[in-house]
């Protein structure tokens, strides 16, 4: 029969430390698994290898907002990207209402990618909205060249779509 290993107080302290680390990691990886489920709905993350996605995304959070809650403010320096899981948000530029964002839409990506200031304020419009927020780990980008290329490509497509939408609105007005 085997001889059982006896752990002392120092060992126990170390185990408790590891438990804390593991719990923190697992919470993040569970959120990451959830993001993989909706990956292709988040346009700027489309076609990125899941392993790359895990390397470049961090600080994943599901956040609930109530009506009139400010999610991001124009001029602020923050770099999270937001994906609307449910509810509606309103966009203001220089305090002027410029549009509405619905579930399935992404915002905040420009500031995150170009590390610039927020160019609009976004507030919760519906009684409640659930958003997924995440940040991009630029340090890991050098190991994920394809992911970086895809993000820029997706972003260019998104900007192009917005321009086309604006053009079509302007044409309709005329």
């Amino acid at each position: 029969m085997i001889q059982q290993v006896v752990y002392d107080e120092d060992d126990i302290e170390r185990f408790l430390e590891v438990t804390k680390q593991i719990e923190a990691q697992d919470e993040e990886s569970q959120t990451l698994r959830k993001i993989l489920n909706v990956q292709n709905k988040i346009s700027i993350l489309a076609n990125i290898e899941p392993s790359d996605l895990k390397a470049i995304l961090f600080n994943l959070k599901f956040i609930k907002y109530k009506r009139k809650d400010i999610i991001i403010e124009e001029g602020d320096v923050s770099q999270e990207i937001f994906f609307i899981l449910s509810g509606e948000c309103q966009v203001f530029v220089k305090k002027r209402d410029v549009g509405t964002l619905n579930s399935g839409m992404t915002f905040g990506e420009s500031a995150a990618i170009f590390k610039s200031k927020r160019n609009a304020t976004v507030a919760c419009l519906s009684n409640e909205a659930t958003l997924l927020s995440f940040s991009i780990n630029h340090d890991n980008m050098e190991f994920c060249a394809n992911a970086l290329a895809n993000i820029y490509k997706n972003l260019a497509l998104q900007i192009n779509n917005k321009l086309e939408e604006m053009n079509s609105k302007m044409t309709t007005k005329k």
Partner: protein, 235 residues
């Protein structure tokens, strides 16, 4: 022979054979419960071979890298794994266990054996002795059959219980070992420099190392397949 006696015999054998192992299992669960160990649903047990070889590799690079707790945990896991393997293999030797370990301890079989030996020791067996020997042999055969049916079910059930419990304990302890191994390794300058040479950074863990390793081992070899399976644990 009534079934209660047979069941009692099997029970006594279980206590003698498995009692100490069940104590070890209970102690381990109690220890992990008291410290609120995190119970992972992923199959870290599978990564045992990989982690064992990493422990060996790191020790070869820097034999002082491992903390006292990591060394103890490594010893603990290896001991438990040997126990697990012993019981896993025992599932293949039910007949042998019955014949060699169980039967010699059962009173009624001891008596039959003694009587057979008494007859064999006689210089000359008469017709009555030979008849009696035949009866004893038949009786022994029938009893063995009855005993075996009780023994086999119970023995397999106990082994399943033991191997299942040991696997759960090992899974949790291996998960902790995994985390502690990389944490200790990255505190060693020599190991860290060797990782850096492989273009791996300080955020290295099993998943990242396996990803690197998969890129350098020959595809479709046993090692490659094993690493692929391990990688799925972490993703």
């Amino acid at each position: 022979m009534d079934t209660d006696t047979i069941k009692d015999d099997v029970c006594r054998f279980d206590d003698a054979l498995f009692g100490e192992t069940f104590d070890i299992i209970d102690d381990n669960f109690e220890f992990m419960d008291n410290l609120a160990f995190y119970e992972s649903k992923r199959n870290h047990f599978l990564a045992f071979k990989f982690l064992n070889s990493m422990m060996q590799n790191f020790t070869n690079i820097d034999n002082k890298f491992a903390s006292e707790t990591l060394r103890k945990l490594h010893r603990d896991i290896n001991n438990l794994h040997k126990l697990y393997k012993y019981y896993k293999d025992s599932l293949k030797n039910v007949d042998e266990m019955f014949e060699k370990k169980f039967l010699p301890n059962i009173e009624v079989f001891k008596e039959i054996k003694e009587e057979m030996q008494y007859l064999k020791d006689k210089n000359h067996m008469d017709a009555d002795d030979r008849d009696y020997m035949r009866i004893l042999k038949r009786h022994e055969k029938e009893l063995k059959k009855i005993y075996f049916s009780y023994f086999e079910d119970d023995y397999k059930e106990q082994l399943k219980d033991i191997t299942g419990s040991l696997q759960n304990i090992l899974n949790t302890k291996i998960y902790y070992f995994d985390s502690m191994l990389w944490s200790d390794a990255m505190k060693s300058d020599i190991i860290w420099r060797s990782m850096k040479r492989l273009k791996l950074d300080k955020s290295i863990n099993s998943q990242k190392y396996i990803e690197y390793k998969i890129g350098v081992v020959l595809p479709y070899t046993d090692d490659y397949e094993y690493l692929q399976r391990c990688l799925r644990i972490y993703r």
